[in-house]
């Protein structure tokens, strides 16, 4: 009975969101305060009923209601309660419901936080979000309802959650990623509202900036968490696979990164306006494309759930409507956009243009590599895949160019900078970066590095030194204490440098992991020893272990450093009994400067096992960089300026 209420509240939420997509839009058109004021209660209603439906599904999972097909397929009484909870989004239907819940949550946040916005803008923003809500709710209701019953023959036991998903990663990775994906819907809604109302001035950029920053920060966090999860769970120690589904999240991130920079230019200088609008449209379209790629089953990947042509078709239609409609609107309106100011060649505007061009080019090459196999297949020209070397060959040099521009961008001023002055200021960081970079590599020594390793390390120093020069310019030259003047710098400024530092840390991680990882796959009988890096691994044997819903072969491996026992590592091979799945559970000794990674392969003759031993220097820096970017994004969004400005806007409106 309660489960049927779930379907019912989804339908109610759908009708409310249809109203939300019509009433405030009409109100905004007719400047009717009454009609626009319906937007907030309607948004609250949509969020309430979507939230109710979600809570009902959570309840069905926690109470093991296997009469619900979705629960029966993705849960089991032997699962601990927190995995039963996260199993809610462990399959297609539930994860779409999470998508919709996130969207409703963002819509509510916009409704509550934007009281200062002009009437016509708020009506249209919420109206556009209402359309997106309605689209996805109808998708859930018509093609992917999680509330379908298995009556009268309800199974006594569920089929269990895929053991790959029985992990902390499933609890955090999808919600964070969706917060990012869906957050770009807000930037999209602001862009469409600006186009509809014809107010394509700097103000819309200011309104959408904090939202976009927050969405971008969440997406960064979601991608970093996904990479970390894949690293420890998939059992072979890779951190990025150029899997089409990873690319599906990377593309909106790249365009979103371009968008937050372009928004900065539009807000501060009133240029790049139409380009910024276009980027906002693209960022959300790529989020939709990602959803389509993942959910339609056209891809083969760890993320692809059950494939169903009807679902793929539905999302494709939504994608076509969203992209086609918004680009049409853009085509009609963008010609009216006028720049408020001009800039010269040596200026921050130009550097941010370079940033935007590079990021869009990277996004485009990733898009090409991801869609090319699908295109070839659709044309009946055979099945193929595009390998990681393609993506590495393009993203590495382009990423390096981006980092060069990043350093310069921190030091140029808006509108105009004297070129010779600029060169003088750049010489210091350049020399220091090269000297420090080469010294670091000489001290590190070892084999396996190539010129890209140097480039990565030098550019990381380059970013740091350029940022320090900028900090000195801003704070060091002032009178008064250094601390006091540093404290006066706005949060957005600190957020920027923090995120840029994240980029440098990420580059160090990528360069070091790629160059210095030591990797051995080998056959080890009990008593065998193997040296990897400065450590010696000794295989002691296998113990049988019984888990709550699995049995496990636990390998015992002693690790020695300089002849002393450093630690005992215990990788596992688990057999999940409900479905008979085999899972590799790697054992990882994490450290800031290196990880030791041990995984069991398969049992061989005579008590021996296939064992994977890895020494991964600086691998944590990859995710540390992601975390720094995330904090930078949140910090920038919390800048006091936005609140002050919105109060000012409120007075003016």
């Amino acid at each position: 009975m309660i489960v049927e209420l779930g379907t019912f509240s989804l339908i109610l939420a759908f009708f409310l969101s249809v109203l939300l997509s019509i009433v405030p839009m009409v109100g905004a058109q007719r400047s009717s305060l009454l009609l626009v004021s319906y937007a907030r209660p309607l948004t609250i209603g949509v969020t309430f009923f979507v939230g109710l439906a979600f809570a009902i599904l959570v309840n069905a999972f926690l109470t093991n209601d296997f009469s619900v097909q979705y629960v029966a397929n993705h849960s089991n009484t032997a699962l601990p309660w927190y995995y039963r909870f996260s199993a809610v989004w462990g399959g297609h239907e539930g994860s779409l419901l999470l998508w919709v819940l996130t969207l409703a949550g963002w819509t509510l946040a916009v409704a509550l936080k934007s009281k200062a916005l002009p009437l016509d803008i708020i009506g249209r923003v919420l109206g556009v979000l209402g359309i997106i809500n309605a689209g996805f709710l109808s998708f859930v209701i018509f093609t992917s309802s999680p509330f379908e019953r298995l009556l009268p023959r309800a199974p006594a036991e569920g089929a269990d959650l895929n053991p790959l998903l029985q992990d902390f990663g499933l609890i955090v990775h999808p919600p964070m990623l969706y917060m990012g994906y869906v957050g770009f819907a807000v930037a999209f809604a602001f862009a469409i509202a600006a186009l509809l109302s014809g107010r394509m001035d700097a103000a819309w950029a200011r309104w959408s900036r904090p939202w976009t920053n927050v969405a971008w920060a969440f997406l960064t966090l979601g991608i970093a968490l996904g990479s970390w999860w894949a690293y420890y769970e998939l059992g072979w120690g890779g951190w990025w696979f150029w899997d089409p589904v990873e690319n599906a999240s990377l593309m909106p991130w790249l365009v979103g990164t371009a968008l937050i920079h372009s928004l900065a230019v539009t807000e501060k200088r009133g240029v790049f306006k139409s380009w910024t609008l276009l980027l906002a449209i693209f960022a959300f379209s790529l989020s939709l494309l990602g959803t389509f790629l993942v959910r339609s089953g056209v891809l083969t990947s760890v993320h692809a759930f059950a494939s169903d042509p009807a679902r793929g078709f539905y999302i494709l239609v939504m994608l076509a409507v969203a992209v086609g409609g918004s680009l049409l609107l853009y085509g009609i309106r963008a010609a009216q956009v006028k720049s408020d100011s001009s800039f010269t060649l040596v200026s921050r505007e130009t550097l941010l243009l370079v940033n935007n061009v590079l990021l869009t080019v990277i996004a485009f090459t990733v898009l090409l590599g991801t869609l090319y196999p699908l295109l070839i297949d659709a044309l009946g020209m055979g099945k193929m895949s595009v390998g990681p070397p393609y993506f590495n060959a393009l993203t590495v040099p382009l990423g390096a160019m981006l980092m060069v521009a990043l350093g310069v961008g921190a030091l140029v001023r808006w509108r105009q900078t004297d070129a010779s002055q600029l060169l003088k200021r750049l010489i210091g960081p350049l020399v220091l970066a090269v000297v420090f970079g080469i010294t670091t590599m000489m001290i590190r020594g070892g084999e396996g590095w190539d010129h890209w390793t140097y480039v990565g390390i030098i550019l990381a120093y380059w970013i740091v030194f350029c940022a320090l020069v900028d900090l000195y310019d801003r704070a060091g030259k002032r009178s008064g204490s250094l601390i006091a003047s540093l404290k006066k710098l706005p949060r957005a400024y600190w957020g920027m440098h923090l995120a840029h530092l994240g980029m440098a840390v990420l580059a160090v991680g990528v360069a070091m992991v790629s160059a210095f990882t030591e990797h051995r796959d080998l056959r080890m009988a009990p008593g065998d020893r193997q040296e990897v890096g400065e450590y010696v691994f000794e295989f002691k044997g296998i113990e049988q272990v019984q888990g709550p819903n699995y049995t496990s072969d636990k390998g015992v491996i002693n690790v020695y450093q300089d002849g002393e026992l450093y630690e005992v590592m215990t990788p596992e091979k688990r057999l999940y009994t409900a479905r008979g799945n085999v899972m590799t559970e790697a054992s990882i000794d994490a450290g800031l400067f290196r990880d030791l990674y041990v995984a069991l392969g398969e049992p061989l003759e005579g008590g021996a096992w296939a064992i994977r031993l890895q020494f991964k220097p600086y691998v944590r820096w990859l995710w540390l960089g992601g975390l720094l970017m995330t904090f930078g994004g949140f910090l920038a969004a919390m800048d006091k300026r936005y609140r002050k400005m919105s109060q000012r806007d409120a007075k003016m409106a």
Binding site: L353, V361, D521, L522, G580
Partner: protein, 153 residues
């Protein structure tokens, strides 16, 4: 030319130059890194190029998996129930690699017609069949029941 136009020209040229360089590089990189899929029948007919990175896949033939007792070297055969191709691989096989299971191997064909695999892929789901394999099996008319749709559920 007035300075404004000159600036615009420089920016446009920059974009054009950047874009064409990027597209050129992209196309080159793409052409170097595509791995075409061949079914065992196509390989038996000699359609697959030797010494080029390809993907091949099918069902692992029951009883064909042979391990070297000293190392991680393993040989097995994959079939689309019409023809077979031998695969040689050194390394750790994925968790779901089993006889009778659909897999995809990536590697080069050597002179003897054996695929020297550098990567073996199987999916993390017991009912899963790689779409390439499913299509190859359907082409040879040897798709095991239930049908492809059921299989990939």
């Amino acid at each position: 030319m007035n300075p404004k136009r000159k600036k615009r020209l420089i920016i446009v040229l920059m974009i054009v130059f950047g874009a064409s360089a990027a597209i050129g590089l992209t196309m080159y990189a793409l052409s170097q890194n595509i791995n075409l899929f061949y079914s065992p029948t196509q390989i038996a007919k000699g359609e697959a190029p030797a010494e080029t990175r390809i993907r091949a896949g099918g069902m692992v033939v029951e009883g064909s998996v042979k391990r070297d007792p000293e190392s991680l070297l393993v040989t097995f055969e994959v079939t689309d129930y019409e023809n077979k191709v031998a695969v040689q691989y050194s390394g750790i096989l994925p968790d779901l690699f089993r006889e009778g299971q659909g897999i995809v191997a990536q590697g080069k064909l050597d002179a003897s017609g054996t695929l020297q695999a550098v990567e073996v892929l199987a999916k993390h789901d017991e009912n899963y069949m790689p779409p390439e394999v499913a299509e190859a099996l359907q082409k040879s008319g040897k798709m095991p029941l239930p049908s492809k749709e059921e299989f990939n559920k």
